[in-house]
């Protein structure tokens, strides 16, 4: 007999309240998680989209990439040794559009590699968000430090850095704008962290992301909110089921007296927890994915099915733990106490 479902059907309001709270908390968690992912993409998609590997920058740069300079002999040595290695530089800057309006961008240049856009002299490839600013293929853009003009050759999707669209330019043009002769970093895909080069410090992808100013602080705050909400939902389960169990101590005692196994009572609360959580999660996943589709263009929001699935599994585990903790009191219920109490 499915006691769990029968109780839910008979006490719709009570379980609807619990379900609504789980729905709201999980929905809020998905939205915050979507914003965290969105901001993370907005801040560092350029780096996050690279495969796992090792970044190298000058030891003297004090883990600050825009202070890093890799001399050409070291660069040539590494690029000749490591087949897919690429040297690259990036700096924040701006481009003037045809109306002479400044557009903030992150200039990126690299040696020949399929990991970055390879652009010819006087050409630029932009992140597709620049289309929203009215920039089209063939437009001519300028920069105050650059003697020539950039012709827009194309757009790439989701290439952002430090909340600015990326502008891929030629190495020669980059060096002219920033008056530098060296590249800032070298990236070795699938690189081994134990591989060392004289005068260079190595970083994994994650470690390198943490050197980006504001990235770590931003992500830590948002992730803390997400996990805080997950823990809150677990506590809500524990508190709600505890309160419901306290009200049913008499009933549980009688059921134990007539011979119902304690494990059946645990099954009852686990089943109820699973039913409530699954229904609430289905609704919050649906709503959050719908929001993902209709979120305003400029809003940094990215919520993948994989993330929602992972979080949903965490919610189920947390719900299970919360319900189990609240159910521990069931083990202690003595049938005798229940019999001596009044009507349940």
């Amino acid at each position: 007999m499915n006691l769990a479902w029968k109780e839910i059907k008979k006490n719709k309001v009570r379980f609807l309240i619990l379900g609504s709270i789980v729905f709201l908390v999980s929905f809020l968690t998905f939205i915050i998680s979507g914003l965290a992912n969105g901001l993370s993409q907005d801040n560092a998609a350029l780096i996050k989209d690279l495969p796992q590997g090792q970044f190298y920058m000058n030891k003297d740069a004090d883990q600050t990439y825009n202070l890093s300079k890799i001399d050409s002999s070291t660069q040539n040595e590494i690029l000749s040794k490591e087949k897919d290695a690429v040297a690259f530089s990036l700096q924040m800057g701006f481009l003037n559009d045809k109306d002479n309006k400044q557009q903030s961008v992150a200039f990126v240049t690299s040696t020949e590699s399929n990991l970055f856009e390879n652009v010819k002299h006087n050409e630029v490839v932009l992140d597709s968000s620049m289309k929203d600013k009215g920039i089209k293929v063939g437009d001519t853009l300028t920069n105050n430090q650059f003697s020539g003009k950039f012709v827009v050759k194309g757009f790439v999707d989701q290439k952002k850095y430090s909340h600015a669209p990326v502008a891929y330019i030629n190495e020669q043009d980059y060096k002219e704008i920033y008056r530098v002769d060296e590249m800032q970093m070298i990236f070795v895909p699938d690189g081994d962290s134990s591989k060392e080069f004289a005068g260079l410090e190595s970083f994994s992808n994650k470690a390198f992301l943490n050197t980006i100013p504001s990235y770590n602080a931003e992500q830590m705050s948002l992730n803390m909110i997400v996990w805080f909400l997950v823990v809150i939902s677990g506590m809500l389960f524990a508190i709600f089921f505890y309160m419901m169990n306290v009200q049913k101590i008499g009933l549980y005692g009688i059921l134990k007296a007539i011979g119902l196994k304690t494990s059946k009572l645990f099954q009852l609360i686990w089943t109820q927890m699973a039913i409530i959580t699954v229904i609430s999660l289905i609704l919050s996943v649906t709503f959050s994915q719908a929001f993902n589709m209709v979120a305003p263009q400029g809003m940094p929001f990215s919520l993948t099915i994989a993330t929602t699935t992972q979080l949903s599994i965490v919610f189920l585990i947390i719900g299970f733990i919360g319900a189990t903790i609240s159910g521990l009191q069931i083990r202690k219920i003595e049938p005798l106490q229940a019999i001596q109490q009044g009507e349940a």
């Binding site: 007999m1 009688i254 011979g259």
Partner: protein, 228 residues
């Protein structure tokens, strides 16, 4: 034929440094089909004796033998199995499951007692027992819509649906008025006689003693009188 033997059962409760002996070596045999009333003043130990006999709490000393099984030496899981399959319970309050209909209360008991009946046979059995207690017309009702007397009838039906050998009744009429009490007592007597169920009942109500076969009077943890 003796079904139940209570042999030198003692029960002591410790409250801080004070030890209180509630049962002081009780000896009792229950015969099949008998209706036995345990009477006595509050604190005489009658409810404690009933709950020890029913396997709801352990004795401090002595033995409770039911059908050659020593309940006092069994594990709690083994005692639970005996309670589920061989015992029935009626309490002062009906203690029905509030979210189950009358029919479902009885089906739950068959489930708990691990009844071998098929689904359709279980439903037929529920109908039969509900007719016996005069509650067949309320089988789809929830406890909240039943009167006190009706709830107690359903509790009795739940207690006997799995054909127990012993029915333990702890003040089954205490929450009912005089008329309903007599009806419920008559029902317990008729059913247990028809189904040959041994009944051990605790009561304060002397009027109910007319429906029993044997009266055991207790005082201060000992049996004062055992009268047929």
């Amino acid at each position: 034929m003796t079904l139940f033997t209570i042999d030198e059962v003692r029960k002591t409760f410790t409250n801080g440094e004070v030890k209180e002996e509630i049962l002081k070596g009780i000896n009792l045999s229950l015969k099949e089909g008998e209706i036995i009333a345990l009477v006595g003043a509050s604190g005489s130990g009658k409810s404690t004796l009933l709950t020890i006999a029913a396997g709801l709490q352990p004795a401090s000393d002595g033995q409770v033998i039911f059908e050659d099984n020593n309940l006092t030496s069994m594990s709690s899981e083994e005692v639970r199995k005996v309670r589920a399959s061989k015992f029935g319970f009626v309490f002062q309050f009906a203690h029905l499951v509030p979210f189950l209909t009358v029919e479902e209360q009885l089906l739950l008991m068959l489930d708990v007692s691990e009844s071998k009946l098929k689904k359709s046979e279980q439903k037929n059995e529920v109908d039969r027992i509900l007719k016996l207690v005069g509650m067949d017309h309320r089988k789809n009702s929830y406890p909240s819509s039943l009167s006190g007397g009706e709830k107690q009838r359903v509790a009795i039906a739940r207690a006997i649906i799995h054909k127990p050998k012993v029915l333990f009744a702890d003040e089954p009429t205490a929450s009912l008025d005089s008329k309903r009490s007599k009806e419920v007592m008559l029902l317990i007597r008729d059913l247990t006689k028809t189904l040959n169920i041994t009944t051990l009942m605790v009561t304060h109500d002397e009027e109910m003693l007319a429906y029993t076969d044997r009266i055991i009077k207790m005082s201060d943890g000992v049996i004062l009188q055992d009268a047929l």
